[in-house]
C-alpha cells in the first residue's frame, strides 16, 4: 500500500484556479520583521509545502494566512476576496488549520472535538437548543453522524468516546485534522502534522493528506521532514529569515544548494549573523 504513494499524480481536481493568493505579505512585530514580502499562490487540489529553518517565519506566515494576524502590509485573498481578519469569518469562508503544538479540547471526547468543528456549519442557536424543536434534533443528529464519519476517515472511528487528552500523540494529530475537516474547508493548513511521529505514522499521515487532497481540498503543509515534504508536495516554498529563498517543484528546491545551506549553515554563519545584527541596529 505504502509503495504506491510516491510520485502520485495530481488529483483531477487540480484545475489551476487559485484558492489562496498571498501577495507581498509583510508582518512586523515592533522592529522585528518576521515575514518580509512573501508571495504564495495555492491552486485547487494542490499540496504546497512550506519549509525553512526554525524561526524562518513559517508559523507567522501561516497566522497571516488564517487571519490570526493582520499582515502589516500586503494582502491575502481567499477565493478572490480579502477576508476580514476575524477567525470566524475565515473558517466560514472555508479555511481550516491545525497547530504545531496540538490544541485539542483536552477534556472533551474525540467525537465532541470534531462536533465543535461543525459549529460554523450548523444554525442552532441558544433558544432553539433549549426548546429542542425537531429541526434542532435533526441537525444535532446530522452533526454527530458527520463527526463520526470524519473520525472514520482519519482512522479514529473506534476511539470516538475517548477523551482527547488520553489519545496517543499520533492520534491527537489525526484528531486535529478531523476537527479541521469538520468545518468543510476548501483549503486546509497543516502546521507540522508529523512532528514527533515515527516513520510508520508519518507514512500514514502522508497517505491521509493525499486522501484529503483527493476530496478536492487544497493543502498547505509546514514540515521539517524533508523526505516527507518532497514526496508529498506539488510545490515547495522555502522561507529563510522571513523571506522567500526559493519556490518551485520539489526537485528544484531539493537540489538547490542554498536550501541545505539555510538548514545546516556555512562555517562562518555565526559571524555573518552577528554582522547582520549590527547592521540591523544601525
Amino acid at each position: 500500500m505504502t509503495t504506491t504513494t510516491h510520485d502520485r499524480p495530481s488529483a483531477p481536481a487540480a484545475s489551476g484556479k487559485a484558492v489562496l493568493e498571498a501577495t507581498g505579505v509583510i508582518m512586523r512585530f515592533g522592529g522585528l520583521t518576521a515575514v518580509n514580502n512573501v508571495n504564495l499562490r495555492v491552486n485547487e487540489g494542490e499540496i504546497v509545502g512550506l519549509i525553512g529553518p526554525n524561526g524562518a517565519g513559517k508559523t507567522t506566515f501561516f497566522n497571516c494566512l488564517t487571519g490570526m494576524y493582520k499582515p502589516t502590509e500586503g494582502e491575502v485573498k481567499f477565493q478572490g476576496t480579502v477576508l476580514p481578519p476575524k477567525p470566524r469569518a475565515v473558517v466560514q469562508a472555508g479555511m481550516a488549520r491545525t497547530f504545531q503544538n496540538i490544541r485539542l479540547f483536552a477534556n472533551m471526547t474525540a467525537l465532541e472535538n470534531v462536533m465543535v468543528g461543525r459549529y460554523c456549519r450548523t444554525s442552532a442557536m441558544a433558544l432553539t437548543s433549549i426548546i429542542r424543536g425537531p429541526k434542532y434534533r435533526h441537525e444535532e443528529e446530522a452533526t454527530r453522524a458527520r463527526a463520526q464519519e470524519l473520525l472514520n476517515f482519519v482512522g479514529l472511528g473506534k476511539t470516538s468516546e475517548h477523551l482527547a487528552r488520553n489519545l496517543p500523540y499520533g492520534d491527537q494529530r489525526r484528531l486535529e485534522i478531523a476537527r479541521a475537516l469538520a468545518t468543510d474547508p476548501k483549503l486546509i493548513l497543516l502546521d507540522e502534522p508529523t512532528a514527533g511521529m515515527n516513520p510508520k505514522e508519518t507514512e500514514e499521515a502522508k497517505e491521509l493528506i493525499f486522501r484529503i487532497r483527493d476530496m478536492g481540498l487544497a493543502v498547505v503543509v509546514i514540515e521539517h521532514d524533508m523526505r516527507f515534504i518532497f514526496t508529498l508536495c506539488d510545490r515547495v516554498l522555502c522561507l529563510v529569515r522571513g523571506e522567500t529563498l526559493i519556490e518551485g517543484s520539489p526537485q528544484v528546491v531539493q537540489s538547490d544548494p542554498r536550501v541545505i545551506e539555510a538548514y545546516i549553515g556555512k562555517p562562518d554563519d555565526d559571524e555573518l549573523e552577528e554582522e547582520a545584527a549590527k547592521e540591523d541596529q544601525a
Binding site: 490570526m68 483536552a106 477534556n107 459549529y119 452533526t143
Partner: protein, 307 residues
C-alpha cells in the same frame, strides 16, 4: 435524630439557595476567569424584579398561578442587568490585567445596591415580599420534622435548574461551544465559535439561576432589601470555591455542603462557639480547611486543562 434530620433539611434548603447563586460565579469563571463579584447584586435584582412584577401586574393576588410570572420577571430583570454589565463593564476590560475587572465588579456591586436603594420605591428599608398560596404559609410536619413550604420550592428549583443546565451543557451545540471556549478560547474562535456570544450566554445562565434564587429568597424570608446580595453572594462564592471554581457540579455540591455545615454548626457545636452568631465563622473555617487540604476544591478546579 429528629433534630439532626431537621437541621439536614434546613441545611439543604439553605444550600440549595447558595448553589443556585454559586453556579453563576462558577460558569462565568469557567469561561472568562473572572470573579464576578457583582453576581450577588444580580441575585438581589432578581428578587426586586419579581417583587416589581407582582406589584405592577398582580397586586393583591396570592394564587399559585402568579408564581411563574414572578419567576419570569425575576429572570428577565437579572439577565438584563447581567448582560448589560457584561457588555458595558466587563467586555471592554477583557484583555486588561485581572485586577481591573475584579475592582470593576466590586464597584458595580456598590453601584447596584445604591441604585436599588435610591430608586426603587420604598427600598430604603426592607420591603415585604408577596405571600403566595401553597409555597408560603403554615409549615407542615413530617414525622418529627417541620417542613416549610418555601423549602420545597427552593430545593425543587435547584433540582430543575441543575437538570436543565446539565442538559444544556452536555447535549446542545451551545453547551459544547461553552466547554470548548472554557478549555481554549483561541482555538474555539478558530472553529468558528462566536466567543463573545458564548461569554454573554454564560453570564445570562448564571443570572437566570440567580433570578430564581431571588424569588426563593423572597418566599423564604418574606421580605427583601437592597443588601441581601452581599452576604448571599459571599456565601455563594465560598460555595463555588469550595466545590471547585469553574466546575458547575462543584458549585452545586459546594452550595449544599456549605448549607448543611452551617445548619449543623448552629445546632451541634456546644458552648461559646455554637449557635447562629457563629455560623458564618464555621462556614469560612470549612472553606479554609478545604483549601488547605484540597486547593482545587471538592470536585476539582475546572473541568479544564491548564496546559
Amino acid at each position: 435524630m429528629d433534630q439532626f434530620l431537621q437541621q439536614l433539611l434546613n441545611g439543604v434548603t439553605l444550600g440549595s439557595l447558595y448553589a443556585l447563586i454559586a453556579v453563576g460565579y462558577t460558569v462565568v469563571y469557567g469561561i472568562v476567569q473572572l470573579i464576578n463579584f457583582a453576581h450577588g447584586e444580580v441575585f438581589m435584582i432578581g428578587a426586586f424584579g419579581s417583587l416589581a412584577t407582582w406589584t405592577l401586574f398582580f397586586k393583591g393576588q396570592t394564587g399559585l398561578w402568579v408564581l411563574p410570572f414572578m419567576i419570569i420577571g425575576a429572570v428577565l430583570a437579572s439577565v438584563a442587568v447581567a448582560l448589560l454589565l457584561e457588555r458595558v463593564a466587563y467586555r471592554p476590560l477583557r484583555n486588561a490585567p485581572r485586577l481591573a475587572p475584579l475592582i470593576t465588579a466590586i464597584g458595580i456591586s456598590v453601584f447596584l445596591q445604591e441604585a436599588v436603594r435610591l430608586f426603587y420605591p420604598g427600598a430604603k428599608s426592607a420591603l415585604p415580599f408577596p405571600q403566595i398560596d401553597l409555597v408560603t404559609g403554615a409549615a407542615f410536619q413530617v414525622g418529627g420534622i417541620t417542613v416549610r413550604r418555601s423549602a420545597i420550592f427552593v430545593i425543587g428549583a435547584l433540582v430543575v435548574c441543575a437538570v436543565l443546565l446539565w442538559f444544556f451543557i452536555n447535549r446542545t451545540k451551545m453547551g459544547r461551544g461553552m466547554l470548548a471556549v472554557s478549555q481554549d478560547p483561541d482555538t474555539a474562535r478558530l472553529m468558528g465559535i462566536n466567543v463573545d456570544r458564548i461569554i454573554a450566554v454564560a453570564f445570562a445562565i448564571g443570572a437566570a439561576l440567580a433570578g430564581v434564587a431571588g424569588v426563593a429568597q423572597g418566599l423564604q424570608n418574606s421580605n427583601i432589601d437592597f443588601f441581601i446580595g452581599f452576604m448571599a453572594g459571599l456565601k455563594a462564592f465560598t460555595a463555588a470555591v469550595l466545590g471547585g471554581i469553574g466546575n458547575i457540579y462543584g458549585a452545586v455540591v459546594g452550595g449544599l455542603v456549605l448549607g448543611v455545615v452551617e445548619a449543623m454548626a448552629v445546632q451541634f457545636i456546644p458552648g461559646t462557639f455554637g449557635g447562629s452568631p457563629w455560623k458564618d465563622v464555621w462556614a469560612f473555617v470549612l472553606l479554609i480547611v478545604v483549601l488547605v487540604f484540597r486547593p482545587q476544591g471538592l470536585m476539582g478546579a475546572r473541568v479544564v486543562d491548564r496546559a
